[in-house]
């Protein structure tokens, strides 16, 4: 009986320890430097996104007969998933009800998106700017539907996290003007954790999927991705000169991505992994022209693991302390 009690006490202590460790992991105390990096980075990303699409904005999102394929196709596919997903059609219908033309609504939406990006860059009206940027970008991504690509999803995710994070940060103009009280460090830590864990998923799944393709082991996938239009910025004649390095580079990318969730948390390897991942994204931007994708990934990595490096010391030292506490108390019980 006493042994039974002892066992249940131990398992209870074990589960309590696990829960406590999990909560310690989820809510580390952090300052808001990472949030400043995320806000400024996403402000820049939003501005660049709006400017890149400036000349094609109406052509991409106009209705059938005026644009490339018409906004309605993307919106119909989105509506099939759920009619509650925001889309530009909502804003256009709203504009129509007050006699504003589709063209004018699209222009206003573009101008608002650009302005929200600028406001985020400056840190002015941070929360409303983040919400507007997220909403308008989501509307554009969903109405564009078939024309969207990976960078759009990452941008939506990043803006989604930014608008939920405890803004404004101490480097923002808002803070300078209003002098609001400092945010809860554990809440700041929680949102950074969300970002960190999300990136671990991204790289692990991406790396694992690449490992399952034979083309990443012999370098042929790198060759194919570098010569296919519109990514063919480097002439194939130059690539041929480096043909013996392609297999090594392909394998390195697979290993770098699949092992990211392990080595990015270790203090000794974090800097190497972070620099390697940043270099990989910079190369993606420069060599295949995926500038928006490269920029958003660099911003996310810098905010998650680059802004300050007190993550491991915080989490692990707390875990050690908690472990010691549990050990002492269980000795006292016996």
């Amino acid at each position: 009986m006493a042994k039974g009690n002892e066992l249940s006490d131990k398992s209870e202590t074990g589960s309590l320890f696990a829960l406590r460790s999990f909560l310690d992991f989820l809510f580390p105390s952090e300052n808001d430097r990472w949030l400043s990096v995320l806000r400024i980075g996403l402000g820049l990303q939003t501005v660049v996104y709006a400017l890149f699409l400036r000349s094609d904005w109406h052509y991409l999102f106009a209705s059938t007969g005026k644009g490339l394929i018409g906004r309605e196709v993307g919106e119909a596919i989105t509506t099939f998933d759920s009619p509650l997903i925001p889309k530009l059609g909502w804003l256009i219908a709203l504009g129509r009800s007050v006699n504003i033309s589709e063209e004018a609504v699209l222009s206003v939406a573009w101008a608002c998106l650009l302005s929200a990006g600028c406001f985020l860059l400056l840190g002015l009206f941070c929360r409303p700017a983040a919400i507007i940027a997220w909403f308008l970008h989501l509307c554009a991504a969903e109405s564009g539907g078939l024309l969207a690509y990976g960078a759009d999803n990452f941008m939506t995710t990043a803006l989604f996290y930014l608008m939920l994070s405890p803004l404004p940060d101490s480097y923002s103009f808002d803070q300078w003007v209003a002098k609001t009280k400092p945010r809860n460090p554990q809440l700041l830590g929680f949102w950074r954790r969300v970002l960190q864990v999300h990136l671990c998923f991204v790289y692990f799944i991406g790396g694992l999927a690449k490992c399952l393709g034979n083309g990443w082991w012999d370098g042929s996938n790198l060759w194919r991705s570098l010569i296919r239009p519109p990514f063919n910025l480097v002439p194939p004649e130059i690539l041929v000169r480096f043909k013996y390095t392609l297999p090594a580079l392909g394998i390195s990318i697979c290993l770098l991505e699949v092992s990211y969730p392990i080595f990015i948390w270790m203090k000794k390897t974090r800097r190497v992994w972070l620099i390697s991942i940043l270099a990989m994204h910079a190369a993606i931007g420069l060599l295949i022209g995926l500038y928006l994708f490269a920029l958003v990934m660099i911003v996310l990595n810098l905010a998650a693991f680059g802004a300050n490096s007190r993550i491991e010391s915080g989490f692990l030292s707390r875990r050690k302390r908690t472990g010691a506490f549990v050990q002492i108390s269980s000795r006292a019980d016996t």
Binding site: L53, L60, D152, N184, I205, L212, R224
Partner: protein
């Protein structure tokens, strides 16, 4: 103080959804035989994909509030698609060529295009999707719209012959031997144009 339990619960639900989306995509690749894994695993991968889809509510009817609620959240958070970019292998690319027929017998070749290069990436993304089997029902409608966008710039054109196909680039050794890329047509449509309306034939 803020409610830690609520935040922790949200964290759990959020990452369960991300896991389901990611693994549904990964299992789908295995089930399609697109990976180096043995084909014996394909039926199991299909079952696992169905299980992941169940978590996302995709086994319910399209009008189910649960399914719609999950889909709305996934889109709002930008997590509706997995992260298997350029994986497991990088496929060839797709090309849409439009042959423009004039009344006087002239024939010109043209492709849909956008002004900026950044937006051009999106057009390629669209063409890649058209090649997928799941987009087969809307192919004609999309190609018709793309043909119509070109016709607006060339109003004298009477007929457009659209050919969509897959381009297989040479590998390094083939490139060194001078082999060009190969084009395999997948489908084609003819559109006759009159008074601002395109008609698929």
């Amino acid at each position: 103080m803020f409610p830690k339990r609520i935040y922790a619960a949200w964290f759990g639900i959020h990452f369960v959804l991300i896991t389901a989306v990611c693994f549904a995509g990964l299992f789908s690749l295995i089930a399609e035989g697109a990976t180096i894994l043995p084909s014996a695993l394909q039926p199991y991968a299909r079952k696992a994909e169905v299980a992941a889809a169940w978590v996302l509510g995709k086994q319910t009817t399209a009008s189910s509030p649960v399914r719609r609620g999950i889909a709305t959240y996934l889109h709002a958070a930008g997590i509706q698609a997995g992260y298997t970019f350029f994986a497991p292998n990088v496929p060839g690319y797709d090309r849409l060529t439009l042959e423009l027929f004039y009344d006087d017998g002239r024939v010109e070749r043209e492709s849909p295009r956008l002004r900026s290069k950044a937006a051009g990436l999106r057009l390629d993304s669209l063409l890649d999707r058209l090649a997928e089997q799941s987009y087969e029902p809307i192919r004609e409608a999309i190609v018709k719209r793309l043909a119509f966008s070109v016709w607006r710039e060339y109003p004298d054109v009477k007929k457009i012959h659209a050919v969509f196909g897959s381009v297989t680039p040479p590998d390094i050794a083939e490139f060194e031997r001078g082999k060009p890329e190969t084009f395999q047509p997948i489908f084609s449509f003819d559109f006759s144009l009159r008074e601002g309306h395109g008609e698929g034939q």
